[in-house]
Structure formats: structure tokens, C-alpha cells
Subunit: 384 residues, 4 copies
């Protein structure tokens, strides 16, 4: 297929934060172009956005249903190949379902749905349609996170014993949701966000990162939730003890009231033979400690010392920092590769993108953590 | 009293690690001199140590009982003023008790005893004798930890919401105790170390640090213990959810199997108005984040920007690093000040040293954590 | 103009490093699209690149002369608006000159030309044509570098006294140019690179950064050049003492043999009242020290504490790292804004892009440093 | 000799900064005790200091001449073994000379003298008397600096090509000397400090550090001095290009007007095969980069990965920070070892202390830099 893939977008109007990131990321490698969108349920806002993105007016829609309907009637070489879903959480499921049912591949924001039941339906639908589905967990798309996974997989750390993954933010330390902040508003609203606050919004990134790197699944949890900001309906701070299915133990926490913290996702993984540490705010360094050896710092772009996936998912030589947009773009680039393969009837063995199954894992993690937080039982098992 | 205070030591023979630190720290400010010791129960090893420390041979003893007996019969200006106890844990109580009963002030290593009952007895004895008792928690003796306490106390962070205190080490990741390592050997032996491994050895430092800075007491815990190294009898990794008595929540963990970690004690405290972060391996920087302000880095020795106690507990201008020995020396210097005051019948209002009550808190923390680790109850309350 | 700006490119075939960066950067904000190119003098390689970039074949050229000729005959809404020049240095001048003479705006890689005389001609041509010319100094396009400039301009540091700007790399520590490395090959060849090695390749970035932040011009230099790798014709290490026209003093160095250094551009500026420090490899932090105050760390995305230009030249909230591609994209976005203004006959007061005058300053800096390195005179003045 | 060595001190009264450091350092390892002193030329201040240090009153003197005279008449086991000179610079020579002539070993602050001629005399005197002379360059006494020297010596970096050593401080950014600051006052006074300001006070530490690690001697310099604070008589900022006698090139700078810098001595050394970096404010980490390998961080106390001297000159396990006092104490401990050997007629092959020859090198460096700063010649050679 000698052209760019064509992307439609649902959500992502001019006031959106994450929509912009998706557009920049999708276009970065010149493999994807935005051709249509239903950027807002308010058609005026949608049209406004479409114009700002230089789209043809007749491909800017007021609803995703209309978009799917119209687009699928266009000639194959013109119509959108896939949809990118960047709305608040409660809409993900309906949009993704309809997209799949209409034959479109899907890129979807996390958490994948608001219930595990919905997530299970999407799993079935993806499997039955054979379409490509990518969940946007950008942190596991950083090159050095892929290196971390490689280090674990290749046995350099031995059996994994302990995982500490933390995700503190401070931006919700005050009641921004009552001060007109849209991002805060829907995230603290259970009707739009789902049954969890900090865990649903950022804890699932931490969970995904831990499972991605270790290759282990969280199997039981013991959670302590607090809502520090009064009037808020969802927890804004969550501390969780975790057990993994292959024996690792650990801690996961997500906080949005940790004043001074920006977006400080950090993971440490310790095995019998070594440990690693990676911090999202300085994503181009990965600490590697091997038993009785000096600490080593692996660096993005240092191709002499990195694995294949870490090399593939970077663009610049060492010392030229890559950031979140590039990590996001890795998802789109890998997704595009899978879609192109799919179009010629081929299934990529390792497309290395967070899948609909990862989305289901995330939802089951949310379920268990929320249940645990309300329970006097020490340990709550995740549904497997 | 126009002379140095005279110190006796129990434990601290030539193969000891912490004994050396105590001797260097005690002498640093020229306010204390070592005059006698029962460095080992083996009189030959004790004599050997005494000679290496240039002590007079007749003041090097084979037992602490003998030392207390002999020393108290010396003229006041000659005999030891206080004893420093640097033995393995199981001996602390007997020695401290006898010292107090014989009228000697005491500096004691942590954990203070091996049971809370013993700790309670020491509390009573210290109160009834009016003698000075210092527990060596050197991390809360660093100047910037005192600054951190000041920041909390003065309300700059508002009400404290969250505390994350972590203490990973990696040196016990393999079975050093079976390879002839003495430090590993007694620490992993319940008969010498007490009923907890990582929590008793280092977790109590984390607990003390958190309570010291926040001015809050840990009131309930939910603990997850693991013994990763097979054959070991005590936990070598402990993850604990914590609640404080004035409403803060948090996480405390102690690990000795985290390969690559040296002695990486770190604490973060978040309140409504700000947060702080301090890390023992770079003890001369304290991060201060105030709501909506840029991060600030406070530095040891920057007296224009530090509180009285932070200034008092440092020795050098900014940029001249101070380390653990200096922190330890702060304990001895503050202890010496309290002893000198005591000798003239005066009680220092704030001697700013970890006390026998802090020692009791540590023991009750160990009790609760050990109980929790073995329990299916989610929360175990600390005895207050 | 309700469409993206149309970009042509000279250079940037599939084996190019910097061409990719330009394409990603130009497209990032969806304001520019690549429509044509003369990617290589070998028409086959050019066509190959054009196909990979999904261009229409008839707009992929074998020479820039042909491209300018053809493009200018296309209808205004179809033809390229500007050319981006990403060839080795010795070609910049001819291409830029021809582009300007044919009415195209220009984005040009540094160093702008190979001689000051050429640079002077470009200055005249830009002034006489009124076209927009941007030189790609991406480091001065980082948001926090703009903040640094603002801090100086607003007088927070008082009169500037000292500047230390260093640019160590290690990749040319061995004779890569004899081992088939194309990037090394042309850069170490005076016929393609010009009369300077490390200064021409990276030293001009350091010079531009220093002048951009301080608002002062380097007025005299004292240089020490070394060619450490034998057989190499140009200096691979340069240490330079510098004086500025408004009284600041300092040090600038560029090295390509500093093993272990990636791309470690760093600048420190000290004034009477404060100092700042910024390092390219961690571009999202800016250290600010004010006299007798604690160190502050300013952060990309922390809009409550940043100036207008720093906010404008970033895309994400704090803690979501932005890197070199985003900095590069700032140049293109600001350039696009200036071109759009130009198209409606308006001149932006502060387009905040490195200009043809900055390019001339760079060339005069190279001249003086090269002259100094060969001279026994202590100080060599720059032509003003 | 079964006792501590006995130290006398000249300078170091209660208002002294460096005197305290010397006393703490000398005593740290229990190998040295302070027995006498001439702490100030004002006998009242001297007595006051002596009392505070708990000395016997009859060994507190009003002049060093009196001290040497009296002490040498005491029985060998009572009298001082060596003198520590911690006065302002202009007094070093006379005191050291008299000490050596009276048979006392010497520890002396840097710079050793105020002229090279004096330094040459001390060299002769040390050689003719066979006494031990130590110059206090504490930065080259840090364990990881010894490791750095070892790495160079053992050839891990190959031939050394480049050295960058920088020493910025900010404390003299304003005219503290006119505001009653004693430390500032004598340091900015040529009559007490000598002919150089920043170079004499801190630049010689940088020079010593560079020569110590590389094993090369600085052979020629090109210096740029500035006195930024008006009214000051000595340079407060010095930028210097340097050449070494075995081919390395580099930069050395010393600044006392760099606002926000505390005591930020840093050195980078690059060879054909690798590079190292060490920073005094975080002295327990040493960066090691080997060609095409990931960066390694060596750590104080990590004895499995350090050389003999690095191990010997540290006291604690990894992760327990050691600072400047411990580095200083290394000088005293190594000096004490050399003195003890000397007392039994033995010469230590490598006492690893900065010697009288290093002191002479420092003075010749000051001479050359001061000459260069005033000269239009590009390069000034050091007297060898």
C-alpha cells in the first residue's frame, strides 16, 4: 500500500489535551495522516477543530456514528483506515465497539472501558473481527522500557523478586474541578471516569508498565484509598501492595495530591541477579545494577548497547532527548505496521503494542483494587 | 565541667562495623573521649581492641558488668560518664538496664531491645533515674532532616496527607550469612536480632525518620513480609501500608534484597500546601515544593535559608559535603550537651535526640508489623 | 491562508540523519507539509527517498535548480512555499541564494555557509527580498532556553559577568571517517565542512546559545585547537576563552573526542544577582540561583512560573518530557508563523527564530576562532 | 610507638573556619591528639581557644616560636610530634621553616607559601631534614579521586587527551570583605593572601587535582583574569587554557563570583579509550565511560570494584556518605603513617599525600598564571 494510513479521530477538539498528543504522534513518522474526525458531540466545536486541522469540511462529523457510516461508504483508498479514540473514559466502549463492527481498526485511550464486562466484549470483538486494536500506554512505548523488558526476558536479573512502581502527581491537590478545569472535572466525575480516580487515570499505566517489563501479571492486591480533597467522589490517592502470578511481590501507588510532583512515574524491578530503575521524567536513562558490579546507565540511542526493540523505537542518536510525543509515536508506528500487515493478510508476531487483552487486564486490576479498598480482607484476587 | 565527657563502650571490637562509627562520631567535636570499654565478651579480643584504641589496659574489660562495677568506684573526674552500647540487638536491654541502675547515662544502638516489654522497662528506668538516654537514629540527625521537621512544624506544608518512606538495600540478596559474613550472620539470626529481619534492622530507621519529620505517630499497619533467600529465618523484604495518628497515610518499606541498592533511605512527605523529599545518599540536599511554585533545593550549610537546628547540626559551609559520621556525631554532641546540663541539674527543653520513648515506639512498630505480616486482618493497630 | 505551508527539501535522502529530524519537526504541529524535494544529487536516490516519503513522483527532483525552476511555475496554491536546506555545509550558500532569488523562503542548517563573505551576501539578499530566513539552531528553541533569555533580559541576574558554555561529544574519538561512517566523513572533510571541524559543527551552536541567552555578542576570542585523531584534517577539539561586547567574560569549548559524552551541550550564565544553568540532555529543567536564595528548578510546562515564550514553545504539561524534535519543531512553527505574516504583508516583531544575521555572526565567530588558533596573538577580535 | 601522635597547631582560633576542620580530621581515626597550639598571635585569643579545646593551659602559646622552643624541650613522649599550620597564606613559610628547623614534621595549608622562592627553600629543607611534610589538598584525598588516578595509571583510558577542571564558587560575588567577613577579608588582601585571588585560594586545588589524577604536569598556560567586584585588589575570576607536559590539553577555571555555586569543584579527564568525571559536591560517585560501553558509576565503599588506595581511604560501606572531613582525615591518617614509619627510620614508598614538591608546583602554577594574565603572549611556560 503505497500511501499513508488514514486516521479518523473521535474526541480531540481544540480544548483537548490528549487529542493534540495523538495527532502529533500519529503524524510524526509520516506513516499516518488525519483525514476525518468527530471531534466533539457539539458539531460546531467539531467543525471548528476540523478547520483548524485543515481537514476537508465534509469529513468533519458531529457524531462518531455518522463518521463510521459515511467513511465506510468511501472508496477504500479514500476512507479512513482506523479510528483513534481520545474521549473521556465512559465513551471508549461504545465507540470502539461500533468501529470494530464497522471494520475499522482502533487506537484507544486507557482505561479501555469503564467495566470489565465491556472490556471482555471488546476482547471477543477484536478476536472475532481480526482487526488491530492498540491501547495507548505510552510509557511502555519508551525505548528504554523496551530495553528493561528485554533485560528481564533475557534473564539478566534472574527470577524477579520485587517491583516498586510509583506514580505521583500533584495537580489535583486542590479542588481544580470546582474551578473550571475541564481535565480535572471529568476525571473526578465517576459518570465520565468510571469507579476509580487515581488508579483509573494513572494507576493503570503503572500496572501496565510493571506487567510489561516483568512479563508477570498482578494476581492479588491489598489497597488503601484516600480522598484527600473534600467533596471529591473518587479516590485521589491509592497505595497498593501487590503480588504477581510468578512470585514477585511489590508496591504500586498512584497519587494525584502529591504537591510538587508532575508526572513522576518510576519503576524499580529487582531480581536475584540484578535490578533496574527507570523514571519517566528522564526517560532516556535506564539504570542497570548487576550483582557486585558497578551501576550502569543505559541510554536511548546508544545502539551498541541496546536490544532490537529499544533501537527500533527510537529515532535519534544518544544525547538528543526523545520525549513523550516520540513514545506515543512508537505506538502509532507499531500499530501502523500491524495494520499494513493485516491489510495483506499477515499477522505480526510481535507488534509490541498494548493490546485489547492488556486493556482487559487493566480493567480487572481496577476492579480488584476498588474492591480491596472497600474490604477488610487483606488480599483480593484479580479475575484471570 | 571543664573537660571532655568520658565514654565507655560495650561492643565495638576490631571486627565491628558500627563500633568504629560510634568512636569516630563521639570524638569528632572534641567533647567526648573514649576511656574504657568491654569490647567483646572474649577478654582477649576486648584487650586487643583496647590496645588498638590506645586505652589504658586496666580500663579494658572482659564484661560490661565488670566495667560498670569498676568504673563506678573511680573518682568522679576519672570514671566514665556514659556508656555507648553497640552490640547485637539481644544484648541492648541487659546492658542498658545495668548501666542505668549503676548511674551511667546511655547511648544505645537501635532497635532498642528485642521486645516491647523490655522497652517499657527501660522507659520506666530512664524516667525514674533521670539519666540521659540516646538512641542512635543517625538519619534523623542529619541537618536537612531537622530542616524538614522544621518545615512541617512551621506549617509550610499545611496538614500532612501522605508519607512515602523507603529503605532498600541489596547486600543480603544472597546468603552471605552462610559465607562467613559476621554482619549478615547475627542480623539473620532471630536469637541475636529479634523477631524481625529487615524491619528490625532498617525499617525502624524509616519509621523513626517518618515520625520525626511529621510529628505524627504510626497508628496502624498492613504488612507483607517475604523471605526471598531460602534457608533464612527472618524476612528480608517488607512492604507496609501505614496510617498515622493525625490522619496521614502512606507506605513504608524495608528491603535487603534489592540488588544494586546500597543504603538508599528516602522519604517524601506531602501536605496540602507542599511537599519535601530527602534521600540519605545525597543528604546535603532537601527538595521543597510549595504549591504552584518552582522546586527549591535547600542545602546543608546554606545558613541564610535554614532553621536553627539545621544550622546547629552542621559544621561546614555549603558545598563541603557532610556525611553519616557527622550525622552520628550530631547525636553525640547533642547527647553531650544534655549530659552536661544534667550534671548541673538542668533539663534541656529540646535536646533533639532520639529518646527512650522513640525506642519504645520502634519496638511497638516492630510488634505490629510482625503481627500484621502473619495476619489476615487488613489493619493491625500499634499499642500506644 | 487556510492550508498548511508547503515545504520543499534539499538533501535529506534515506541515509541522512538530520533530514529525518527536519521532516518530523516540520510536520509536528500540522502547519507544514512536505510536497517536494531534491533529496540527493543522484536522481535515483532522490526518487527513492521521495517514494518513501509518499511524495508525488513528479515533484521529486534530481537537483535543486530543477526544483526551484519547476516549483515556481506551479500555481501559488500548489507550489512549495519554502525550502529546507539540510545538505552538508558547502552547499548551503548556493542553494539558499538560488532559493531567495526565486522567491522562496528558506530554512537552512548551520553553519549557514562556509565563508563570511557568502554569509554577508545572504544577509543582503534576505534584506533585499524581504523573505523569511530561518537558521536551525534547535538548542535555542527549547522552551527553557527561552526562559533563560527572559531571565537575563528582565534583569533578574543583574549585569552578566561570566558565561561558561561547553559542548563535548565523543563520537569522533576514533577515526570513524575511515570506517565508512558518512556523517563522520563529510564533517571531517574541509571541502565539504569548511575550515573548522568541531567549532563549525557544534561550536557554533554553543556560540549561538550563549549570544541568544545573554543578548551579548562575542567580541574577541583566544583559541586552542587540537586534532587528536591522526590523519584528520580539521580540529576535533577546541578550547576558547571569550569576551563579550558588553563586558561578560567566559569559556566556550567544543569537543568531539570526549569519550562517553553524547551531545552534552551545557551553559551557565552568572550575573551580579544570580546565575542559571541549562543542559541539553535534560532540557526540561533550568536551574536558577538568586543571590542568597535556595536554588530553584524551573520546569518545562510549569506555566505558572514561566514567561510567554517558554509557554508558547512547549506543548505538554509539566512532567511529560519534550525533546529535540519538539525544539526543532518550535523553529518550524515560529518560521511558519512568520511566513504566514509575510504572505499578508506583515512583519512579526519577534519571530524568535535564529536569523540570517545570526548565521553571519556564526561565520565570523568561526573566522576569528580559526585565526586565533593559528596565531600567537592572545586575543583576536571578531569582525562586527 | 604505642600512643597517638601529638599535634600542635598554629592558627585555628575560635573564629577560624579551616582550623576546626583540621582538628576534626586529625582526630577522626584516633591516631592523633591535639596537645598544644599557638592559635592566635593575640595570646588571649589563643588561650581562649586552648581552653575550649580542653588543652592544658601551659601548652597554649601566644607565638609559634615560643611553642617550638618549649615543646622541643619536653620529653620525647610528651612533646608534640608535628605541627599543623592553618594560618593565612603569608605566614605559612616562616612557620613551616621554623618547624622543620626545630625537627618537627609539618602539615601545611595550601598554597604552601606566597612565592616560589620560599617554596623552593621548603623543598630543600624537607629534603635535608628528612622530615615528613604534608600539604592539605583534601580533594585529592577523596577515595574516588584515588580511584580516578588508578584508572588513569592502569591505562584504562589510554593516552590522556583532554582535562577540564572547574572550580566555581559564588560567595565573593559581593564585597563581603568590606562587610566584616574575616574569611573574605584576608583572602582578598594581597598582603595576606599573595599575588593571586581565586587561583591562589582555589585554583591550586584544581591544578593539584588535575595533576594528581593524570600524573601529568601543567607545562604552559594562557590566562584571563577579571576582578568583577569593584575595589577588590585580586582577581575573583580566572579562566585558563592549559597544556600538560605529556600532551594533554585542557581548561582550568576558578571563580568566586559565580552566584549560586557553593564549592563546585569538578574534573573531567578524557583519554583515547575512555573518560571519567568526578564532582566534589557528590564525592561518592565517579563516572567512568569506556569506549562504546554504557556509563558506569563507581561508588565509595563498593570495595568489590575499587582499587587498594580507594578502599584504604574510605571508612564506611557503600551508601553511607563520606564527606570533606573524612577526606581531610585521610591526609592526616596517611601522614601519621608516614611519620610513624619515619620514627623507626623507614620511608614509605607511597604515602599518597600531597608533598612539598606538589606545593612548589602549585606556586609555579600561580606564578605562570599571574604572569600570563598580565601578558599579551599567548602561552606562558611554567618553570619546571
Amino acid at each position: 500500500m503505497n500511501r499513508r494510513l488514514k486516521m479518523g479521530m473521535v474526541g480531540g477538539c481544540l480544548s483537548s489535551f490528549i487529542g493534540v498528543v495523538h495527532r502529533m504522534a500519529a503524524g510524526l513518522d509520516n506513516e499516518i495522516e488525519l483525514v476525518c474526525g468527530a471531534f466533539n458531540a457539539d458539531v460546531k466545536l467539531s467543525k471548528e477543530a476540523g478547520a483548524a486541522y485543515y481537514l476537508e469540511d465534509n469529513r468533519v462529523y458531529g457524531s462518531y456514528a455518522e463518521m463510521f457510516e459515511n467513511e465506510k461508504q468511501l472508496p477504500e483508498d479514500e476512507r479512513m483506515d482506523f479510528v483513534s479514540i481520545v474521549t473521556p473514559n465512559f465513551l471508549h466502549f461504545d465507540i470502539a465497539k461500533m468501529a470494530l463492527e464497522n471494520g475499522f481498526h482502533v487506537v484507544c485511550e486507557k482505561p479501555m472501558t469503564v467495566t470489565s464486562q465491556e472490556a471482555e466484549q471488546l476482547v471477543e470483538l477484536v478476536e472475532s473481527t481480526g482487526l488491530i486494536f492498540a491501547l495507548t500506554h505510552p510509557y511502555s512505548a519508551y525505548p528504554l522500557v523496551k530495553q528493561a523488558k528485554h533485560i528481564v526476558e533475557s534473564g539478566q536479573l534472574g527470577n524477579i523478586r520485587k517491583v516498586v512502581v510509583e506514580y505521583p502527581q500533584g495537580w489535583l491537590a486542590t479542588a481544580l474541578e470546582t474551578a473550571g478545569n475541564q481535565q480535572a472535572s471529568w476525571r473526578t466525575n465517576p459518570a465520565k471516569s468510571g469507579k476509580s480516580g487515581s488508579i483509573g487515570d494513572i494507576g493503570v499505566h503503572a500496572q501496565n508498565l510493571a506487567e510489561y517489563i516483568t512479563g508477570q501479571k498482578i494476581s492479588e492486591v491489598c489497597a488503601d484509598f484516600t480522598t484527600f480533597v473534600s467533596g471529591r467522589l473518587l479516590e485521589d490517592d491509592a497505595n497498593v501492595l501487590i503480588h504477581f502470578n510468578k512470585g514477585a511481590k511489590g508496591i504500586l501507588y498512584a497519587s494525584q495530591i502529591s504537591v510538587g510532583e508532575e508526572n513522576n512515574l518510576k519503576i524499580r524491578v529487582y531480581g536475584e541477579l540484578g535490578g533496574i530503575e527507570w523514571q519517566q521524567q528522564e526517560p532516556n536513562s535506564l539504570i542497570l545494577n548487576l550483582l557486585n558490579k558497578p551501576m550502569q546507565i543505559l541510554r536511548t540511542g546508544d545502539n551498541a548497547n541496546l536490544c532490537k526493540q529499544a533501537i527500533k523505537n527510537a529515532r535519534l542518536p544518544g544525547g538528543h532527548p526523545e520525549g513523550l510525543i516520540e513514545a506515543f509515536a512508537n505506538i502509532y508506528r507499531n500499530f501502523a505496521e500491524a495494520v499494513r500487515a493485516n491489510k495483506v493478510g499477515f499477522i505480526l508476531e510481535n507488534s509490541d503494542i498494548a493490546s485489547v487483552h492488556d486493556g482487559l487486564s487493566g480493567m480487572r486490576f481496577i476492579d480488584a483494587v476498588v474492591e480491596s479498598a472497600a474490604s477488610n480482607e487483606k488480599w483480593i484476587k484479580l479475575k484471570q
